[in-house]
């Protein structure tokens, strides 16, 4: 019997919702975006929490937003950020700012690198992973 040495295969890490964050993921499964809003702050917030950041006010509500936003910043990783993403090739690690205010870590897809521009309008791309029971939210150019 021979021993072969193959590199270990790393699965892409996928989100595992918690009871508190479940409404966000349930909405994504419906291809909708629901995040929290604090009436006393007068602000939308992200990511989900039990109490509003800064004030710890107990008034958070789930509200649907369109998901439209602008590209706040990005980078193209020419080297894999970890073995889990080695097969993905260069990735566009992006931060999108929703029109409602909060920022969201995501990945830009369906776009040539040279077309990326900070401040460009972007729209949601819902990516379903049925085996994991999760939907990821990525972004593409709005036009």
């Amino acid at each position: 019997m021979t021993t072969t040495h193959t590199p270990p295969v790393f699965d892409q890490p996928l989100p595992v919702p918690t009871p508190l964050t479940q409404p966000f993921w349930d909405a994504l499964a419906e291809h909708k975006i629901r995040i929290q809003y604090s009436p006393s702050l007068g602000e939308y917030i992200f990511y989900p929490r039990p109490l509003a950041p800064r004030t710890l006010a107990d008034d958070l509500q789930w509200r649907e937003i369109s998901g439209a936003g602008t590209l706040y910043t990005y980078t193209i990783t020419t080297r894999p950020v970890s073995p889990h993403f080695a097969a993905a090739g260069p990735m566009i690690l992006a931060v999108v700012q929703w029109d409602e205010g909060p920022r969201f870590s995501t990945e830009m897809v369906n776009i040539a690198h040279e077309d990326l521009q900070i401040g460009m309008r972007v729209r949601p791309v819902f990516c379903d992973y049925p085996e994991a029971g999760i939907t990821m939210l990525r972004y593409e150019a709005a036009n």
Binding site: V16, Y72, T78, L93, R103, M136
Partner: protein, 401 residues
């Protein structure tokens, strides 16, 4: 508010970094003991003078870390502290030790940061590659916001997020990649005057930096720290200890610290780092101005960290940092000496001990022990620490007697 400047760095020890460990593998606890002894010897103090310790996390204890160390060293500490502020940890540990000395809790405090993570393994105790190694200190535990909202999008580790900061900086203020390269080049010049630096004897040009592989745009490989194996320690003592010490005391005159977030996605304004607050507090506490400082040692995991820290600490106008870099000679022989021992970019980043390189760079200069790289008449130093992704920042001001 703050320190009275009655606690001083009296001795230090910094292992020359090695890209691959050529020394004997030792556990963090063994490193703790040996680094500490070397720093005490440097100060001319006895182990029995020590009654306080500050440490980062270590490999051999996941809790009860300080008492594990005091037991191992046989120190009965009046103050035993663990800091978990990443690259800001060393500077953060220094002011905590100084505070303990000024409160009268301690005569002498060891601040020791083991920096060789290549530790012994045994077939019955094999090395387990933990999530932390892969996920670059982003927590992948269930319930962690990073596990749920960052890691699945590959927003993890350091290269990507720092590149996002640099990209946004370019959008808001413009980007001069030659100025960014010059930061790395000037530090390399300093490393070439620092025996033991991992890049000693290997000068580079701006073209070398820009020709090195792009890792996460706009950051090239030579704008990113070289991970190394090493370790460092300092001894901080009161006036009585300073009188016993053989070195010129380096009084800790001021500090500041700010810790507002973990992931830059959630920074309220990504272009103004926590250093704005930390540096203002440090200078106010020390009662000196930016112009009074003879050298600065700025945490340099990336060139963008140096650039934004120079701006946010108030040495360069916001948005004009690249112009500042172009207009000043940042080498030890220049008009604005930065990271005179090479910084982590060119001296080497010994894991969690990386931040101690800046503490020791400042102390070494103020003690007048920097050899060829000595800044003439160096009496005051500014030191910064930076952890997470520009998310944990600490500033220190040193003054020679």
């Amino acid at each position: 508010m703050g320190l009275r400047g009655e606690a001083a760095i009296l001795g230090f020890y910094e292992l020359p970094p090695q890209r691959k460990l050529a020394r004997e593998k030792t556990f963090n606890l063994e490193q703790w003991a040996r680094l500490s002894k070397a720093a005490l010897d440097d100060a001319g103090l006895e182990a029995t003078d020590v009654n306080g310790i500050v440490t980062p996390m270590i490999g051999e204890a996941s809790m009860f870390v300080p008492s594990t160390i005091t037991e191992y060293l046989g120190i009965e500490a009046n103050f035993a502290e663990i800091v978990d502020l990443g690259g800001a940890g060393s500077a953060a540990a220094v002011w905590r030790a100084a505070a303990a000395v000024e409160l009268g809790l301690c005569d002498a405090v060891l601040v020791t940061f083991p920096g060789a993570h290549d530790v012994p393994t045994h077939e019955r105790r094999p090395f387990v590659m933990e999530d932390q190694m892969f996920f670059g200190a982003s927590s992948n535990s269930y319930g962690s916001p990073q596990a749920e909202f960052e890691i699945p999008y590959a927003n993890l580790g350091q290269n990507g997020p720092y590149a996002q900061i640099a990209k946004r900086y370019g959008h808001e203020f413009g980007y001069d990649e030659l100025a960014m390269a010059k930061i790395a080049v000037d530090q390399r010049t300093n490393a070439c005057a620092t025996p033991g630096a991992v890049f000693h004897g290997k000068p580079i040009t701006a073209q070398d930096v820009l020709a090195s592989p792009m890792v996460a745009d706009p950051l090239h490989m030579l704008e990113i720290v070289m991970p190394c194996q090493g370790g460092a320690a300092v001894v901080i003592g009161n006036k009585d200890m300073a009188a016993k010490s053989k070195n010129r005391p380096v009084w800790i005159k001021g500090f500041g610290e700010r810790v507002p977030y973990k992931t830059p996605t959630y920074a309220r304004d990504l272009m103004y780092s926590p250093m704005v607050h930390a540096a203002d507090q440090a200078f106010t506490m020390a009662g000196i101005t930016r112009e009074d400082v003879d050298m600065v040692s700025i945490y340099d995991c990336y060139t963008i960290t140096v650039l934004m820290s120079l701006e946010d600490a108030g040495f360069a106008e916001k948005g004009k940092g690249m112009q500042f870099v172009n207009e000043h000679d940042l080498t030890f022989r220049g008009d604005f000496p930065v990271n005179t021992a090479g910084g982590q970019l060119s001296f080497g980043q010994a894991g969690i001990a990386g931040g101690m390189h800046h503490v020791i760079d400042g102390a070494r200069q103020v003690m007048g022990r920097a050899g060829e790289a000595q800044v003439a008449d160096c009496n005051r130093a500014f030191v910064s620490g930076n952890g997470g992704i520009m998310s944990e920042q600490t500033a220190l001001i040193f003054e020679g007697e």
